[in-house]
């Protein structure tokens, strides 16, 4: 797997230098999932983020009746799991492989190593997560405003 290629194209690592990306690549661990295999379940403890190298995953949440519904589909270079990484809460959704996929896995400890070595790079990772969360919040606000 071309880890560097995947990471450099991911919005999670925008604005990182090559040196920083190389370091993140060394820290990340490739994981393979078969189609329909669950990466993690809603409500589990988790402190890691995943970047999709190949394939697609589904984001599922339980509705009021307890039935799981697909709320989003993520593809190559997108990332997930960052919310639990930041707020240290339980996983807010289930992630299931939609097709055979390859992911890059980065734990909180790996990111701490990255922070020790590349403080500015780490700050940009946090900024990128904040940007993503901000974009989602804006979208949610827009939807809410449309309903009011």
């Amino acid at each position: 797997m071309d880890k560097l290629g995947v990471l450099s194209g991911s919005p999670l690592f925008e604005m990182l230098s090559n040196q920083e990306l190389e370091y993140v690549a060394d820290l990340s661990r490739p994981r393979r999932f078969d189609a329909t295999q669950v990466v993690f379940e809603e409500g589990e403890l988790g402190d890691s983020v995943y970047i999709i190298a190949t394939g697609e995953v589904e984001v599922l949440r339980r509705d009021a009746t307890g039935a799981q519904k697909v709320i989003a589909v993520l593809g190559a270079q997108q990332f997930f799991g960052e919310m639990s990484l930041i707020d240290k809460e339980y996983r807010s959704a289930t992630i299931r492989a939609r097709s055979d996929c390859e992911l890059l896995h980065l734990t909180a400890e790996n990111l701490t190593s990255f922070r020790k070595q590349h403080r500015d790079g780490f700050t940009f990772v946090i900024i990128n997560i904040a940007r993503m969360l901000s974009a989602r919040l804006r979208e949610a606000n827009t939807r809410l405003a449309a309903r009011l």
Binding site: R29, E109, F124, N141
Partner: protein, 317 residues
């Protein structure tokens, strides 16, 4: 364990001495893996051969029992057939006696018929013809009855002979089958013996391969240990360790394997990792000489925060 700086370890890992040692290590590992694979293959073959020999032996014993059953069956059938033959003799005697009796009645019937015909030709009066007629009919009835008995007796004799013949045929086949199955059993005993011999040979080969595995393992251990003398490293199974010269709490670990699952990062052979003295390889960090330039970071922050805004009047989130 020597103390070293990261550049020194990098230099060491790139040195011809180290690369020579690495080559020996890879060769020793390959030799061990090959020896283990050969041993496993031989053990698998041995187990299979022992199982097949045992199974063949069991089949041979079962087949021998089957041959015995056929022999017993043949003996039983022979006895039955003989009994039927013996039972047929009185039947034949009764039939002969009956046949004689029927012949006699037939002659008498012929005489009665002739007497009746002669009387009729001579136009004898009715009171003379009637007794002759009655005698003729009585003899004809007797003849018919006794003839039927003769046929029944013959039928009984034939039935006994048919049964006896059938049983005789089965007896003959049982005898042949007994011989055939006994031969099969003997062949199976031979095959079982042959397989036992093969298993014995494989056992000898497996023992030799186990010795080869031990030798290859000892060689690998020796090559690993050599790293301590040659490079001053502390030697683990998958890593060589050096103390960090500037930081007592840290050490450097030179990885000797490729592994994407067992550690917190995907490790690669000959890559250098920084480890904490307490946690060791429980938590690996790729070793780096120094943090990135602050200036580069500063410029990026300026670019991100101070340029490219969408406008001062834009609604804030």
């Amino acid at each position: 364990m020597q103390t070293k700086r990261l550049p020194e370890i990098r230099e060491l890992v790139a040195s011809p001495e180290f690369l020579e040692w690495w080559k020996d290590l890879v060769a020793a590992r390959t030799a061990l893996a090959d020896a283990e694979a050969q041993r496993d293959e031989l053990l698998a073959q041995l187990t299979l051969m022992e199982f097949r020999a045992e199974l063949t032996q069991k089949n041979a014993i079962d087949t021998l029992y089957r041959a015995g059953e056929h022999e017993d069956g043949a003996a039983r059938s022979l006895a039955e057939s003989t009994a039927l033959e013996n039972r047929s003799f009185p039947g034949v005697a009764a039939f002969e006696e009956q046949r004689f009796k029927v012949s006699e009645i037939w002659y008498r019937l012929g005489a009665a018929e002739k007497a009746l015909d002669d009387a009729k030709e001579q136009n004898r009066p009715k009171n003379e013809l009637d007794p002759l007629e009655r005698r003729y009919r009585a003899l004809a009835d007797e003849y018919e009855r006794e003839m039927a008995r003769r046929k029944r007796l013959w039928g009984e004799v034939e039935q006994l002979w048919t049964s006896s013949t059938e049983i005789n045929l089965i007896t003959c086949e049982e005898r042949v089958l007994a011989r055939k199955v006994r031969k099969e059993s003997e062949a199976l005993f031979g095959l079982a013996e042959e397989r036992k011999k093969k298993a014995h040979g494989l056992k000898a080969e497996a023992d030799a391969s186990a010795t080869a595995v031990e030798a290859a393992r000892a060689k690998l251990t020796a090559v690993r240990k050599k790293a301590r003398d040659l490079f001053g490293a502390s030697v683990g199974t998958d890593f060589l360790y050096f103390r960090h010269r500037e930081d007592q709490r840290q050490a450097f670990a030179v990885c000797l394997v490729d592994d994407r699952e067992a550690y917190n990062v995907e490790v690669k052979a000959l890559a250098i990792y920084s480890v904490d003295r307490q946690r060791g390889v429980g938590f690996l960090e790729p070793a780096r000489v120094a943090p990135a330039s602050l200036e580069e970071g500063d410029r990026r922050f300026e670019n991100y925060f101070l340029t490219g805004r969408k406008g001062s009047t834009a609604p804030s989130a």
